[in-house]
């Protein structure tokens, strides 16, 4: 049996999913976190059930590729029961989607989430009455605490087993007439959704679906058009507006019957935006938050890095002394040790506090507020305001930011935000910024690099959008309420990413270091160094850094871990000048996205975009590093 989780953005589908699946789906307090479906197997009443977490959507006729996934999935896959999650604090909007799901004629369960938040706002929902109106099971849940979750799955199992198909509500007489007329015409079409649901979707006007049906039913387009015209004549409204309006009005009237709303008490949390989005204090607070975040990560990381680096270097020297020679075995062992200690000493100390902090900011709901405050800047980059989501996710991992470009409708916007967000320093490059620049040159350089990064991205965006002009419509984003994150979600979210580092990246760091050791031994690395020599020469770096830079494309952490190995010491101030450390860090921050990101770009946007992005980022990296070398030379040396 298979269940699907469907609901509007930010209603807690993924939180519910994670409650039963362990932490598998990324969550955050803003819309568009889930862009594709995640599947898992769960045990319900002793039976194994497949559970699918679908992206949040306001309506089944999705306007962007991420939302499109939902209808496509429901149309092409056998789903035994749909679990519709709605946010109790925004019941009317949620019910509008529920009405659309009812049309599908499948077993449907309504899980009313965030009951605790609703209670706090003085909202009371009469679940039994709602159940009577919709004729489907209605269950209250608090997904963050796992309350009521078991009940939802047990009910879904029952509904799926008994094939209790939901029945749709009736709309106005004019609309019903056209629905049944079109429905009889498309009866022969063999799709997993009923003919009435299909008729409604055709009236609303869904080009891919109309084309699909058109191939089977001759002249359906003109029939639908005449129905739309007739409706327009009677109601003086386009069918697409008419249907939405009727669902919306019906949803409101249902809500009026089941909802009791106490007069809202304004708590501190409601007033918070008066300060945090204030034209002056808002920006002061933004700078303060980012600075505090940076300061904590840098402080904790530096505290741990210092003794660990020394320990690593001592261990390495001991190892080489024990073998008393420069034999191949000694080199291999030393390489493996450096790969291991590199991950432990320079990546983990920064990665852990960084991910916990980012997870906290994500869950509180502060990130969309940053989008609100920063939108005019984004606009100057020629970007759609929605691009702020890929940007923010990019600070964690660029692969997820590339994936999240799916929330944009336009291909040009998707390309531009993929390009720009791949230059956002991810947590791997964060380790280079903190472990090298901030650690040796001082924290101010760390802050400076993050700031410079934003400026460079903005400039690049401006230049590129000059060649790809389009009036971008601007920001449309739902502002979530502040939520207090639970310790469990923040830590398990951080753990999901740390585990990814331990399982996928760390072994690669060790293997990469061993390969470099072997290459050094046979003096092969000189050959690979040559490839990057024109660039390393230009930005004033020793030729040995070429190989770490090539390996850095595999995993960005390698460019730091292998750097120590290529130069012979992890104490970088002994082997590099300050200006070299700066230009190396800057180059690493901007040049070519990592392999995983490149593959994600190819998958989402195609080979041509991948190669274009590779070329542009390489060019940007060289220009920035070169400029830094020229400008900062008198100051640093």
């Amino acid at each position: 049996m298979r269940f699907a989780l469907v609901g509007q953005p930010n209603c807690g589908k993924s939180t519910l999913f994670n409650q039963v699946a362990g932490y598998k789906a990324a969550t955050g307090n803003f819309s568009g976190t889930t862009v594709t479906f995640t599947e898992t197997k769960v045990r319900v009443l002793g039976n194994i059930v497949e559970l699918v977490d679908l992206p949040g959507t306001y309506s089944l006729l999705g306007t962007n590729p991420a939302e499109r996934v939902v209808l496509d999935y429901l149309v092409s896959n056998e789903v035994d029961a749909i679990i519709n999650v709605v946010d109790a604090t925004h019941l009317a909007q949620g019910i509008a989607l529920t009405l659309e799901l009812l049309e599908l004629n499948r077993p449907l369960i309504l899980a009313v989430n965030m009951m605790d938040e609703a209670a706090r706002q003085g909202i009371h929902i009469d679940g039994e009455k709602l159940q009577d109106i919709l004729h489907i099971p209605v269950l209250p849940i608090i997904a963050t605490k796992g309350q009521g979750v078991r009940n939802v799955f047990a009910t879904a199992w029952q509904a799926g087993k008994e094939h209790k198909n939901a029945q749709r509500q009736r709309y106005s007489e004019e609309l019903e007439q056209q629905i049944s007329r079109i429905a009889t015409l498309v009866k022969s079409v063999d799709l997993p959704i009923g003919s009435q649901a299909l008729a409604l979707k055709l009236l609303e006007g869904d080009p891919p679906l109309t084309e699909q049906v058109g191939r089977k039913v001759q002249g359906i387009e003109s029939e639908v058009q005449s129905a739309v015209d007739k409706l327009c004549h009677i109601t003086s409204r386009q069918a697409i507006w008419l249907v939405s309006k009727e669902r919306h009005d019906l949803a409101i009237s249902i809500c009026d019957q089941v909802l009791v709303k106490a007069t809202k008490r304004f708590t501190l949390r409601d007033r918070l935006d008066d300060y945090l989005l204030h034209p002056v204090f808002g920006y002061i607070f933004l700078v303060a938050v980012l600075f505090l975040f940076f300061w904590v990560v840098n402080g904790i990381g530096g505290l741990i890095e210092k003794p660990l680096i020394q320990l690593a270097d001592t261990l390495n020297n001991k190892l080489l002394q024990t073998f008393n020679d420069q034999g191949l075995l000694a080199q291999i062992l030393s390489g493996a040790l450096q790969g291991f200690t590199g991950g432990l000493a320079i990546v983990m100390p920064y990665l852990t506090p960084f991910l916990i902090g980012l997870g906290f900011l994500e869950d509180v709901g502060y990130l969309p507020r940053i989008a609100f405050l920063m939108d005019s800047l984004m606009h100057r980059m020629g970007l759609h305001g929605k691009a702020v989501v890929p940007f923010i996710l990019g600070y964690g991992c660029n692969v997820s930011s590339i994936m999240s470009t799916r929330i944009m409708e336009d291909k040009r916007d998707r390309f531009l935000s993929a390009l720009l967000s791949s230059m956002v320093p991810c947590s791997a490059r964060m380790a280079v910024i903190f472990g090298l620049a901030a650690f040796y040159l001082g924290p101010v350089y760390g802050v400076g690099i993050y700031f410079l990064n934003i400026v460079v991205i903005a400039l690049t965006g401006r230049i590129i959008s000059h060649f790809l002009p389009e009036d971008s419509p601007g920001l449309i984003l739902e502002m979530p309420v502040y939520r207090f994150p639970t310790l469990r979600t923040v830590t398990s979210k951080a753990w999901l990413r740390i585990r990814e580092f331990i399982v996928e990246a760390w072994p690669l760091l060790i293997v990469g270091s061993v390969i470099l050791a072997v290459m050094n031994y046979y003096q092969l690395s000189q050959i690979t160094d040559v490839i990057f020599r024109p660039i390393t020469w230009l930005i004033g770096l020793p030729s040995q850094v070429g190989t770490p830079l090539i390996f850095g494309i595999l995993r960005k952490e390698l460019s730091l871990v292998m750097l120590g190995q290529a130069l012979g010491s992890m104490n970088f101030d002994q082997v590099l000048t300050k200006i070299q450390m700066l230009s190396y860090t800057l180059f690493v921050v901007f040049y070519i996205p990592c392999l995983a990101t490149l593959l994600a770009i190819r998958k989402e946007l195609g080979m041509k975009s991948m190669l274009t992005i590779t070329a542009i980022t390489l060019l940007v990296a060289v220009v920035v590093a070169l400029l830094a070398r020229i400008v900062m030379l008198p100051i640093l040396d």
Partner: protein, 52 residues
């Protein structure tokens, strides 16, 4: 675009309230159907409203 707007509650006959505006010609924060939505000024310009 039109559809996306509709989904967010910008429907004929609905009430909207501007809660705040971001500086530097930034976006507006608008309340529609009890939901807070940020919209850029370029789009806001295309919404016809009647003062209440």
């Amino acid at each position: 675009m039109q559809r996306h707007f509709m989904q967010l509650g910008f429907l004929p006959g609905n009430n909207a309230r501007i809660i705040r505006m971001a500086p530097f010609h930034g976006p507006l924060l608008v309340e529609v159907d009890g939901r807070e939505i940020v919209i850029g000024r370029n789009i806001a310009r295309h919404i016809l409203v009647e003062e209440l």
